[in-house]
């Protein structure tokens, strides 16, 4: 089966802190899911289990039929690419080009293939103009894009993006939304952790919600935002259009501005003319 599967997974850090409890989750190849939830809920811990950076203390993680316990992180990382929450945990090369080229080189690809992959990945993130810069001297959000490009260049089957929307501006959010569409076409599975509710509402059909070490909900984004208890427990919120709709008694199923317009046009209201 082409999917990532977490089965009754628990994870305890070396200092004894239990960060994940009884996680059950399946992400199919080609599928795109968002993971949301309060700070410290265990999201980063959970996704590190998917690419073998963490091995479960109890339970099993199965990637395309293979149990991660029986493979090294390097072996799994070729299937499942993880982009770190903090880009500085990932970057270690002295130029952006070298950083993106690093894994293709490690996999002993031909010089022309390496060059193609670097250029292609950089173009997707619109960071071509930074290729000869030192990654430690470019702004934080650009560094984040460098780390995404570096993972794209390995052409994994699945990609995990940990908070790619943090600190992004209008253009950055657009780049990310376009990237998701391209990955979808390429049938690459993606898991995106984000605190940006507008981004979730506008880009994901399926959302997984975490709170207090556990997955507390997994379903259609629209249904998730309709449940007040889930929102409260996981410290997330509706988008502004969603909140306004609730206040006006238009129901809890309005996700974003397009939804709002559609429902509003069904109401009998004064048009202001």
């Amino acid at each position: 089966m082409e999917q990532i599967e977490l089965k009754h997974v628990y994870f305890q850090y070396p200092n004894g802190y239990l960060a994940n409890e009884d996680l059950n989750l399946t992400v199919k190849k080609g599928e795109q899911i968002a993971i949301v939830g309060q700070n410290g809920a265990g999201k980063t811990t959970a996704v590190k289990l998917m690419n073998g950076l963490h091995k479960p203390s109890k339970g099993e993680v199965i990637v395309d039929g293979k149990n991660t316990k029986k493979f090294t992180t390097a072996q799994i990382a070729r299937y499942v690419g993880y982009v770190f929450q903090n880009p500085d945990d990932q970057i270690f090369n002295q130029s952006v080009y070298a950083e993106i080229a690093y894994m293709p080189k490690y996999y002993k690809m031909s010089a022309s293939e390496i060059k193609n992959r670097v250029e292609e990945s950089a173009a997707l993130l619109k960071i071509e103009s930074f290729l000869d810069k030192n990654p430690f001297e470019i702004p934080y959000v650009m560094r984040k894009f460098v780390t995404i490009a570096a993972i794209l260049a390995t052409k994994p089957q699945y990609i995990i993006l940990d908070e790619p929307t943090a600190g992004q501006d209008l253009k950055g959010i657009e780049v990310l939304a376009d990237l998701l569409k391209i990955l979808k076409k390429q049938n690459i599975g993606t898991v995106t952790i984000t605190h940006d509710m507008d981004f979730v509402a506008n880009n994901f059909e399926r959302t997984v919600v975490m709170a207090n070490k556990r997955i507390i909900a997994d379903g259609k984004t629209r249904d998730i935002f309709g449940e007040d208890d889930i929102l409260r427990e996981s410290k997330i919120k509706r988008t502004l259009a969603g909140e306004v709709a609730v206040e006006l008694g238009m129901g809890k199923c309005i996700l974003n501005i397009p939804d709002f317009l559609q429902e509003w046009s069904k109401l009998e209201v004064k048009d202001g003319k």
Partner: protein, 281 residues
Amino acid sequence: MAFIKLKNITYTYPLAKEPALRNMSCELERGKFYGVIGENAGGKTTFCNLLRGLIPHFYRGELEGEMTIDGQEIRNIDVDILSTQIGYIFQNPFTQISGVKKTVFEEIALGMENLGVPKEEIIQQVIEIAELVKIEDLLQKDPNQLSGGQRQKVAFASIIAMDTDVFVIDEPTSQLDPQGTESIFEIIDKLKKQAKTIILVEHKIDLVAEYADELIVIGQGEILAKGDVHQVLSDFSLQTRGVMFPQAALLSKALSEKGFDFPNIPVTKSECIQMLKERMR
């Protein structure tokens, strides 16, 4: 008299080809809450570095123009003294943590220790701040074993604890969940009510629009707009310069494109609800 005054400030980082700030002039008053917005690489962080005196005292490069803080020319200011007057929360929460302390408690206490605050007072203050920022349960944790958002809250707490008159805060909520973000804004609002001066860089314009007194829009190294929140955000042409608009304004714009005209552009949720309610009656 203006508290901070910039006149024709142009600044170029060492080895950079182009200036990061161009011919900037503005005046900031004490006791106000300024929201700084604008596209990335526009110069927001550089502006913060300047306000905190890191430019020109730490970053060399080339600085032209005049700038004064409390009447003192920035080039002549003692940055060590300035650091006790202006608290600065850096953009990257991962680098703000000192890395030398074993617990979050000690991390928050560090700045106050350096200021020579008596021990009893430090303990009291750490506990108060931890409650305020809602990180009581993290106090005994190792600062290097925190989640991204937890780190950001600790970084925020350790600067707020120093209780300076002025805070320059660069994107303090980028890693925070929606409710955590809102509580940071509530804390900043409290600080403002204690007559502190706040300069906050933030992309979450919905909240900035709700809480800030004034907006400063920075793009391509220039101040593109400065003034009252409603006035600045009534100019949708700023969107073409990468400025995010509040969802309330975007919703009203989308509705007006469908033929529902509104007399004013709402910038906050409550304004938006109010306006729509009038239509529903």
